[in-house]
């Protein structure tokens, strides 16, 4: 599963990611960036464009193991 995380300390609100992937990233008000941590996998190319375009390189893209996200409270018992 496609997952992204943005270092919002680094973010300087250039909004280049919003231009590149407008359904994944959006500007809340004038300068606050918000984004979908879990965009559909079909948006990968847009997300890659967004990450590459970030002038402060604040966007990380990752593939997350589905099991990890579903991990429940009994995980430790399964060890």
């Amino acid at each position: 599963m496609l997952r992204i995380v943005v270092d919002l300390n680094r973010c300087e609100s250039y909004a280049q990611c919003v231009f590149a992937a407008p359904t994944v990233f959006w500007m809340k008000d004038e300068e606050s960036l918000e984004y979908d941590y879990a965009p559909d996998d079909s948006l990968l190319v847009q997300v890659e464009r967004a990450a590459a375009a970030c002038p402060v390189q604040a966007i990380s893209i990752c593939w997350l193991d589905e099991q990890l996200e579903q991990q429940g409270g009994n995980h430790s018992e399964q060890q």
Binding site: R3, V5, E34, Y37, A38, W63, L68
Partner: protein, 481 residues
């Protein structure tokens, strides 16, 4: 990481380090684990967490998750596939045996280590009256599950939400409520919201924002008690200004408490301010001796920053969790000659009431503040914080792109107020008192504070009277005998 690092990690020290245990499975713990692998560490990594979830990101919990844009479970943090860590989740650590170098788990298991990272973070301060805290409708906002529950409450469109405490979490919750069109009251024991983090001058601005967005903001007011109906549902709140509010949701936003209880018999130098460590992130023991192989990172740490008068800082920031964990991870697999000092400047952001707030440095260290760029009226501004004539922090409101310049000024210890002649500043800069309240006066924590100069320095106000003042129900002006 360069291949040089990888070579170093396979050298003599690392041969003796086979097992690394990380207690605390959140941002700091995950960042440390990732860094250990990129440093070339090939031994076992065990990550122990009390929550049942894989590491997730907290900032959206009080923002996009509450508005309903983002599902709570989608905040899981990405991690690299080759992390190869053993995750013991939903399993609190309850003790640390330094002699045998073992962590004791709630189920009685003991996990041995060669190196330990303590990154247990914080939990939300709860409402002091347990019966009232248990009422249906009284919420906290710290974990992902808290956020999912509060989201469900807000989605049910309560008639009024009460937010107890005007710190960042409380303010962000209030902002979301207004965005959702919900009536909201914020109570704050001190003179302004955000006062602990930004001071009264900036706090007054934050208060104006809240009121302009329709928040019923009550400063210098506390909630004396919460009351439920026969079925245990929250019904109303009694305020210190005499008002009785008809509410069905109350969000307790009283700040965070360090997760240090499990270290009770460990012999490490911890108290309510956190666990003391040196600049290399090594924990101190109660005698002020630096330990061998026990490291600390994230919200639970207090460490000496070179820029802030030798005081140990305690910082509850996202960036701090990441950067300090990386430094700790590097040092865990390095010889002391290759140790790095952790000296990142605290950096923080928030979004609320239509603005993006960012800080760099430690505002709460300051005695003065000055508007250097922009205007309060336009809600776009930069303010610089000074302490004894040098710049120590800066705040931007919708003007984040200037922050790097102020970071450089803080690091260069530039005189305060700075000489800028910026086109969007007034000809003469007029500093005003920053207005930070004495410790214990607010209903929320500052989220980045100085905590004394050494591992053994006692807390400034660790007395029974100040405990009384710390009770969030006690109204302002209360004079302990």
């Amino acid at each position: 990481m360069s291949s040089n690092n990888a070579e170093k990690t396979s050298s003599s020290v690392q041969r003796s380090v086979q097992r690394i245990v990380i207690v605390g499975a959140s941002l700091a713990g995950l960042s440390a684990a990732e860094s250990l692998r990129s440093e070339g560490f090939a031994g076992t990594i065990t990550v122990i967490g009390d929550e049942p979830h894989a590491p997730y990101d907290r900032p959206p919990l009080s923002k996009t998750v509450l508005t309903g844009w983002l599902q709570a479970e989608h905040t899981t943090l990405p991690q690299s596939v080759d992390l190869q860590a053993e995750w013991l989740l939903g399993m609190p650590a309850i003790g640390l045996d330094l002699g045998n170098r073992e962590v004791e788990l709630a189920d009685g298991r003991r996990v041995g280590f060669d190196r330990l990272l303590i990154s247990t973070g914080t939990h939300a301060r709860t409402w002091p009256d347990l019966a009232q805290a248990a009422l249906d409708g009284v919420c906290l906002l710290h974990t992902r599950d808290d956020a999912a529950r509060l989201r469900a409450r807000l989605a049910a469109r309560p008639k009024r939400v009460l937010v107890i405490g005007g710190g960042f979490t409380g303010s962000e919750v209030a902002s979301v409520c207004r965005e959702l069109g919900l009536a909201v009251t914020v109570t704050e024991r001190s003179a302004t919201p955000l006062i602990g983090a930004l001071g009264a001058a900036a706090g007054a601005f934050a208060g104006q924002l809240q009121r302009a967005h329709g928040v019923d903001l009550r400063c210098n007011v506390t909630v004396m008690s919460l009351e439920g109906d026969e079925s245990g549902r929250l019904r109303c709140a009694y305020l210190s200004d005499g008002d009785i509010l008809d509410i069905d949701v109350a969000v307790v936003a009283l700040g965070a408490v360090r997760n240090v209880e499990w270290l009770r018999d460990s012999g490490l130098a911890f108290d309510s301010r956190g666990l003391a460590c040196d600049a290399a992130c090594r924990a101190f023991d109660i005698n002020g001796i630096v330990t061998d192989g026990i490291f600390v990172a994230g919200d639970v740490a207090r460490w000496p920053h070179p820029l802030y008068g030798g005081e140990l800082l305690a910082v509850e920031h996202w960036g701090n969790a990441v950067e300090q964990a990386r430094t700790a991870a590097h040092n865990m697999v390095s010889v002391p000659a290759d140790f790095r000092a952790y000296k990142s400047l605290p950096a923080f952001w928030s979004r609320q009431f239509g603005v993006n707030l960012k800080t760099i440095g430690l505002p709460s260290f300051a005695d003065e503040v000055v508007l250097t760029q922009g205007s309060v009226l336009e809600r776009r501004l930069v303010a610089a914080y000074g302490y004894k004539g040098r710049i120590v922090a800066a705040l931007t409101v919708n003007m984040a792109r200037w922050l790097p310049a102020y970071k450089a000024m803080i690091e260069a210890r530039v005189p305060f107020p700075p000489v800028l002649h910026s086109p969007d500043s007034s000809a003469e800069l007029r500093p005003v008192p920053a207005g930070f309240p004495p410790h214990g006066q607010t209903t929320h924590s500052a989220n980045a504070i100085k905590t004394g100069t050494g591992p053994s320095t006692p807390p400034p106000e660790e007395s029974s009277t100040s405990d009384k003042v710390k009770d969030p129900r006690v109204p302002p002006g209360f004079q302990p005998k």
